[in-house]
């Protein structure tokens, strides 16, 4: 073995020792290390043995390095031993300001939380939950909802097309039709789910968003019932002082059709920037089911009346949590998700 080799071995041993010392946690482990390195048959003793194989005129540097190693190890072991001893003796000084060990828990997405609240409120009013496909036929998405081919109302929503006869549903309203086709009144359902429109994303538009559609059909259902349900919903979700307002509007599958507003949550109706000074925030559309829709599903429009309403879940969540950009919902930034 050359002198250089030996010096390298010395350095290597020093490194290995430091790593081992780092993980040694108690007096026992430190004692074991002392034996392993400085004991009679320890590493350092071995290295001294190999020193003797090197011609004496070339030993000087290696000898110095080896002595230094021995001193280093001894000092380090003593120091660590004292540390461990101190920890053990100071065990009574309990530090209650240390951060606790958190149990592992995750968070529901804010859209899930809001959807659950909406479902709960409508469930209390006797509404069940229904679902349908997201790749939907044009018949269910348009025709059956009284939006015939070639009608200007088709331009009201920009549609994403899949192929001949199929689209990504632009609303969850097709679920209405599917439900009415399979069941007879009385009927009370809501259908939450994903919807798609060809909208360029910005702070208030997303090409994919979530909607809840509600439907109630029975004998003697009136617009007054619709107002009652929406009012009850608004007050349960936003507080009992919230007022509702209906404005006439046009959706081919309901008539009379309306848009409904809630009093602004920020200013409580006084007028502020969020509501552009009107005191109202627009929620979504609603109305009485158009008799033409009943004809499509084979209900007798003279016998039955019903109402339908929609709402955007993102919109509600943005109002509830004060979120100002819809795109945040779909970025899934952990710093966002962990706020809810």
């Amino acid at each position: 073995m050359s002198e250089n080799d030996l010096i390298q071995n010395v350095q290597q041993t020093q490194k290995e020792f430091e790593l081992a010392l780092d993980v040694a946690k108690d007096a026992e482990a430190i004692e074991a290390l002392r034996i392993q390195y400085l004991g009679r048959k320890g590493c350092v003793a071995d290295l001294f043995k190999s020193l003797s194989t090197i011609p004496s005129e070339n030993r000087k540097a290696a000898g110095q390095a080896l002595n230094q190693l021995k001193t280093n190890l001894q000092t380090a072991l003593d120091k660590k031993f004292d540390n461990v001893k101190n920890i053990n003796t100071s065990v009574n000084e309990f530090d209650v300001t240390m951060p606790g060990n958190w149990p592992d828990f995750g968070r529901l997405h804010p859209l899930t939380k809001v959807t659950r609240e909406i479902k709960q409120i409508f469930s209390n009013m006797g509404f069940g939950v229904a679902d349908g496909p997201e790749v939907e036929s044009e018949y269910y998405n348009f025709e059956a909802l009284n939006i015939p081919q070639g009608h200007p109302a088709r331009d009201m929503q920009d549609t994403l097309f899949i192929d001949e006869g199929f689209v990504l549903r632009t609303h969850t309203s097709p679920v209405q039709i599917r439900t009415m086709e399979s069941k007879q009144p009385p009927l009370r359902i809501i259908s939450p789910g994903r919807c798609y429109r060809r909208d360029t994303p910005d702070a208030s538009h997303s090409p994919m968003f979530h909607q809840v559609e509600g439907l109630c059909v029975d004998q003697g259902i009136t617009f007054a019932d619709l107002k009652g349900v929406i009012q009850n919903f608004a007050q349960q979700l936003f507080g009992s002082d919230v007022k509702i307002r209906f404005r006439p509007s046009f959706f081919p599958f309901v008539e009379p059709g309306a848009e409904y507003d809630f009093t602004c949550l920020i200013c409580r109706g006084q007028g502020c920037r969020v509501c552009k000074g009107t005191g109202w925030v627009e929620i979504s559309g609603a109305g009485m089911v158009n008799p033409k829709v009943f004809e499509h599903v084979g209900y007798d429009p003279e016998k039955y009346t019903g109402f339908a309403f929609g709402m955007g879940i993102e919109r509600i969540a943005m109002l509830l949590y004060g979120i100002n950009d819809i795109r945040l919902f779909f970025e899934n930034d952990i710093r966002f998700l962990q706020q809810f």
């Binding site: 149990p103 828990f105 496909p133 097309f161 090409p207 994919m208 007054a224 107002k227 009379p256």
Partner: protein, 793 residues
């Protein structure tokens, strides 16, 4: 639709504030989306005279002024140094809107109330000067008058109104004025027609032939000779500018004006360019093409309707005229067209050619076939007045089959039955009459529908009119009382919530991603055919995702790039693909785990890197919490690393997979760390689950634990040993847990030691060694025999 208030007020006489009018229109379904001012950049500013100036009691720099507005005197606090009694000034009263949208409201300045503001030049958009108030020339301004600047356009307010597609009648100023008249119950003043015709009969000047009566039920025309093409008068320019139309010349401007006034599109041809003085309305021939006046050449098909002269096409009916016959500075004689075209036909052509014009928008929603003549006459009269034209005698009116008004019966009881209201017949009749719908009878009320309201065809349409004008606020909300008996419980929804609850309880954050992904993500597995979108917004959203996992990988990289690389995420959503030529979508749940377990204790150094066993443990505990027995077996899958990949099955049906995400995949996302993941289908699990677990009585006798350690081949799967122990241990051996795996000292290098804790239990008695020992022997023998294992003593 832009509506100018000055223009609107030509037809109705109302005294109401801008905000009030906007609110009222919105409440009858004509939603005012925006209000802008044109001409002057301020409104509500009046001329006032300062009567007195007093020092403000609490502020040195402010003065308190008494300002006369002729009919009233206002208390106004002012900060300008030059204010003095006797000055004539511009006063922004409460409600005024100044440059930059600044709105004047009553204010309290250091304890003194102030009802308005004395304007500097900056507030009125005249200059940047705002140190001193603007003193006006007493000879030019009259106290009390509205303040306006010289040489500017007449100040006007423009409403941007969202007209729903069912209301083509409101795409004009007269149409909106009719609604306003109905709201305020005031008369509508439709401009009178007063035409002086020449002696030259129009029949001698033009000949009209409709070949497609379905596509063009009515075509009428006038000829106006010797017009002088010139600049439009100021009033006409102002009207057009207010609705964002560029002034071109008097004749073209008049057709546009009448369009915006009546909602009926007109077209003016240069009469001298109309070959043979003949107009033929026909469908295009196959492969015929036509150049519209915007210089675009369009390829037509036989569904497109053309206006032609004796030789060629001169206009795309109802959409746009042609270059070959357009009005130019040298035009002398005009052929003025006013027609009614089939809405579907115009819409089809406009859509196909991507040509949406003011004319096509109105025709495709439905113009008024019986408004044709009024619009024609109105334009002719204006051309005589403002272009010195001579109107030839008579109108050519081709109207082969008259479209008549129809009537609809409304049952008053039905109105209240649908609305839940208690409206009287008088209220209903009043609403109809205000909307220019004539009525007869009381039950039913027979309502005659004019042709400008193509949206009113059924009883329900008229029920809507009643509540639209009378107000939704007249309906008292009612709580739903009866509870329908139906099978509304959706157990799948409950099941999904149980999955969500498991994940958040296990430290996973829920994600929601768009279902639309780029093609490379949807095609991540070669054998899964993605559904692609025909008209995607961008290549980034061209396909529907075939798995949820790629979305979670996107979340991993998004967060990794924001220095958050220790993540536990899950998402529930649909997988989409094409299977056997059919669109297939299925609800699935996917989860990823990556980085280290840093469970809150950042200061502790015993954090551990997540690994394959971590994700497998999640899967196993999910299965346990749902009470569904899921099997995990070795299965290679392209998404995962070859050696760390298992398939998940339920009752021998494959429902998903789990493993360490293949490096090749995570590299595509630029993810630095190992990611462990799974994805399984939800429906098979929710179908298999028994909603209720059945209770098993607690054991009355204590369990006995024994440990066994075997030295086995290092490649042997532990799962196989556990299976053999379970089999040979029989019912009495109720549980087998692995508690140690050991390589190293005393174990040959190609072997490992595996130690198991076995639990023995009987429901009938306490087990004795005599009973357990033979079982242990049996188990040891079986394991030794199967795997050439050696029991460690």
């Amino acid at each position: 639709m832009k509506i100018s208030l000055n223009w609107l007020k030509q037809y109705i006489n109302i005294d109401v504030s801008t905000e009030d009018l906007a609110a009222k229109l919105t409440l009858v379904g004509l939603e005012v989306e925006d209000i802008t001012s044109v001409g002057a950049s301020f409104s509500g500013v009046f001329v006032g005279e300062i009567l007195s100036v007093d020092k403000h009691p609490n502020a040195d720099r402010l003065s308190v002024c008494q300002v006369s507005m002729s009919t009233e005197t206002l208390n106004i606090v002012c900060g300008a140094p030059n204010v003095s009694a006797g000055q004539i000034v511009a006063v922004a009263k409460v409600g005024a809107v100044l440059e930059g949208g600044f709105k004047i409201t009553p204010a309290k300045l250091r304890g003194v109330k102030s009802f308005g503001m004395l304007c500097s030049e900056r507030e009125l958009g005249i200059s940047d000067s705002h140190d001193s108030i603007m003193a006006l020339d007493p000879d030019k301004f009259v106290v009390g008058n509205e303040f306006s600047l010289e040489n500017s356009l007449e100040p006007d307010i423009v409403f941007e109104i969202a007209i729903t597609p069912n209301r083509p009648d409101c795409l004009s100023h007269l149409g909106v004025a009719r609604e306003v008249a109905a709201i305020f119950n005031t008369p509508l003043n439709i401009p009178d027609i007063n035409i002086k015709e020449s002696t030259k009969a129009v029949e001698s000047l033009i000949n009209i032939n409709i070949q497609d009566v379905q596509g063009c039920p009515r075509y009428s025309a006038r000829v106006i000779k010797n017009v002088k093409i010139s600049e439009s008068p100021q009033w006409l320019k102002e009207r057009l500018e207010a609705v964002n139309l560029r002034s071109i010349n008097n004749v073209v401007d008049i057709t546009n004006f009448v369009l915006m006034e009546t909602g009926h599109p007109l077209h003016a041809f240069d009469y001298n360019t109309v070959e043979d003085h003949k107009i033929i309305i026909r469908n295009a021939k196959q492969d015929e093409s036509f150049t519209t006046l915007d210089s675009q050449k369009h390829k037509l098909d036989p569904g497109d309707l053309l206006i032609c002269d004796g030789l060629r096409a001169i206009a795309l009916a109802g959409i746009m005229g042609g270059q070959n016959s357009e009005i130019s500075d040298s035009t002398v004689n005009i052929l003025l067209e006013s027609a009614y075209f089939d809405p579907k036909k115009i819409r089809r052509t406009a859509k196909r050619l991507g040509l949406s014009t003011d004319a096509s928008q109105r025709f495709e929603r439905g113009a008024d076939p019986n408004g044709v003549i009024y619009a024609l006459d109105r334009a002719a009269q204006l051309m005589a007045e403002y272009a010195d034209g001579e109107i030839s005698q008579g109108i050519i009116d081709c109207y082969p089959k008259k479209i008549n008004e129809h009537s609809v019966n409304v049952r008053p009881a039905r109105v209240n039955h649908v609305l839940g209201s208690n409206f009287s017949v008088d209220i209903m009749t009043d609403v109809f009459n205000r909307l220019y719908l004539t009525t007869t009878g009381k039950d039913p009320i027979t309502v005659t529908i004019p042709t400008f309201r193509p949206d009113l065809t059924h009883e329900i349409d008229l029920i809507e009119e009643v509540v639209r004008l009378h107000g939704f606020d007249k309906i008292t909300p009612k709580a739903l009382t009866t509870i329908p008996l139906s099978d509304n419980r959706n157990t799948q929804v409950d099941f999904i919530d149980r999955i969500r609850d498991f994940f958040i309880g296990s430290g996973f954050n829920e994600c929601v991603h768009s279902s639309m992904v780029p093609e490379w993500q949807a095609g991540i597995e070669k054998d899964r055919m993605a559904i692609s979108i025909k008209n995607p917004l961008s290549p980034e959203t061209a396909c529907l995702r075939t798995r949820i996992l790629p979305s979670l990988l996107s979340a991993v990289v998004w967060n990794q790039n924001r220095s958050e690389s220790n993540l536990k995420l899950f998402e529930i959503g649909k997988q989409f693909c094409i299977e056997n030529g059919k669109y297939y979508e299925a609800l699935a749940v996917s989860a990823v785990i990556t980085g280290i377990d840093n469970r809150g204790s950042y200061w502790s150094d015993d954090n551990k890197k997540w690994d394959f066993n971590s994700i497998k443990g999640v899967m196993a505990s999910l299965s346990d919490s749902l009470h569904i027995k899921l099997d995990m077996d070795v299965m290679k899958h392209s998404l995962y690393n070859n050696e760390q990949s298992v398939g998940i099955s339920l009752n021998n049906q494959s429902i998903g997979h789990l493993g360490r995400v293949h490096t090749k995949i995570s590299e595509k996302w630029n993810i630095n760390n190992d990611v462990f993941a799974f994805e399984i289908l939800i429906s098979p699990m929710s179908n298999a689950t028994n909603a209720r677990t059945q209770f098993i009585p607690l054991p009355k006798y204590p369990a006995v634990k024994r440990d066994l350690a075997f030295v086995v081949d290092s490649h042997l799967h532990i799962g196989e040993i556990i299976n053999v122990i379970n089999e040979s241990g029989g019912e009495t051996c109720t549980n087998v847990d692995l508690f140690d795996i050991y390589h190293g000292d005393q174990i040959p290098s190609n072997k490992k030691s595996a130690a198991f804790a076995l639990t023995f239990m009987s429901l009938e008695r306490t087990l004795t060694d005599k009973e357990i020992d033979p079982l242990i022997t049996k188990i040891v023998n079986a394991v030794e025999k199967h795997f050439q294992a050696v029991l460690r003593s």
